[in-house]
């Protein structure tokens, strides 16, 4: 486990040093998507949000103890999306923090938690926006967490340690969030009629800056997850978080 961790860290360092564009990554601005796209992404996001609310109710009704864990996952998203971390490209961006909640509670619950944070930022901080809430939700609170969830499931199936799995899940989910944002912008603003060309354009702006920040997010997620495994293992087991049962008791 330690050797694998060393390899992961080395890989992370190489990735961090490998990029050097002067760009910046954030959510889509208020008013920067045409109404039809706002509606389309909103319509996609709503079912996730509704199912998420139902899942939350179900989980909390099942066991009130889960409330602390869920609050912690929400708080983690709150903290991470307030941290504007300088990136190698000479500008700042913030992580998403949704990987932890996606792994523990699944993507639907995360859709609700992530959207709450997005609303907070859109209303109070002029960061993101209410008209683009659907689109930002789809990327940060839905697409990223789904990929994180899937990656964690696959990794633990392949008997990768749960800590390495959640590291990979958080990192890839974070980067994927901004890939989706790029695609959303590319779709709304094609270059010479080409969605693909525009998407690649925005990918240069969004995803690449995000790589070191995604790794930073991965590290924080592993540390918190390690704490939860240590002190809340039974509860994680009850929530059917994969890979916990096989862990040795320390």
């Amino acid at each position: 486990m330690k050797k694998t961790m060393k390899h992961t860290v080395a890989l992370a360092a190489i990735l961090v040093m490998g990029f050097g564009y002067n760009v910046n990554a954030m959510h889509i601005f208020e008013g920067y998507l045409e109404p039809k796209w706002c509606i389309m992404w909103g319509v996609i996001a709503i079912p996730f949000f509704v199912i998420g609310c139902m899942r939350i109710k179900e989980i909390l009704n099942g066991d009130r103890k889960n409330m602390v864990l869920m609050a912690m996952c929400g708080a983690f998203i709150f903290i991470l999306s307030a941290l504007k971390i300088p990136s190698v490209v000479g500008s700042c961006s913030h992580p998403t923090g949704v990987g932890l909640s996606a792994v523990i509670f699944g993507p639907f619950v995360t859709a609700v938690l992530g959207t709450i944070v997005l609303i907070f930022q859109a209303v109070l901080l002029a960061h993101g926006g209410l008209t683009t809430l659907g689109a930002n939700s789809c990327s940060m609170a839905i697409a990223g967490p789904i990929l994180s969830y899937v990656i964690y499931k696959i990794c633990t199936k392949c008997r990768v340690s749960s800590r390495i799995s959640i590291f990979l899940a958080a990192v890839v989910g974070d980067i994927f969030t901004y890939c989706v944002t790029s695609f959303q912008l590319g779709l709304a603003f094609p270059v010479n009629g080409s969605v693909a060309a525009a998407t690649v354009n925005y990918l240069g702006i969004f995803a690449v800056t995000q790589v070191p920040i995604a790794i930073a997010e991965g590290i924080l997620t592993v540390l918190i997850f390690d704490f939860l495994i240590k002190y809340s293992k039974d509860q994680l087991k009850e929530l059917h978080v994969a890979g916990i049962v096989k862990e040795k008791i320390k």
């Binding site: 992370a12 910046n24 954030m26 601005f29 609050a71 307030a82 209303v123």
Partner: protein, 98 residues
């Protein structure tokens, strides 16, 4: 996870933040503008059709709100962490496996 691994991870985290500040040149503005600039470049006719209902009046107020967001999160996370740790300690000392 061993304590050594944890410390190594924390050092890596700090290095990721400090490295660009120390070795890369840049304005380090939270210039959300790059994507917007790109849109304006490729679609010069596009005008944002809606603006934020509320915008923090200054950088100071904005940092206040960001700090508030982080503090809220950190408070809840810390409370939860203490709760879980205390609970598991209690269970150990009571010799109860619940």
């Amino acid at each position: 996870m061993k304590t050594g691994t944890k410390i190594l991870l924390i050092i890596c985290f700090i290095a990721i933040i400090v490295f660009p500040l120390a070795f890369c040149e840049g304005s380090y503005e939270g210039a959300d503008g790059n994507a917007a600039e790109q849109i304006e470049k490729t679609n010069p006719d596009y005008k944002p059709w809606f603006s934020n209902l509320y915008e923090p009046p200054s950088g100071e107020v904005e940092s206040l709100l960001f700090a508030l967001q982080a503090a809220l999160g950190a408070g809840i996370l810390g409370y939860g962490a203490g709760y879980l740790k205390g609970k598991s300690k209690n269970n150990e000392s009571n010799g109860c496996n619940c």
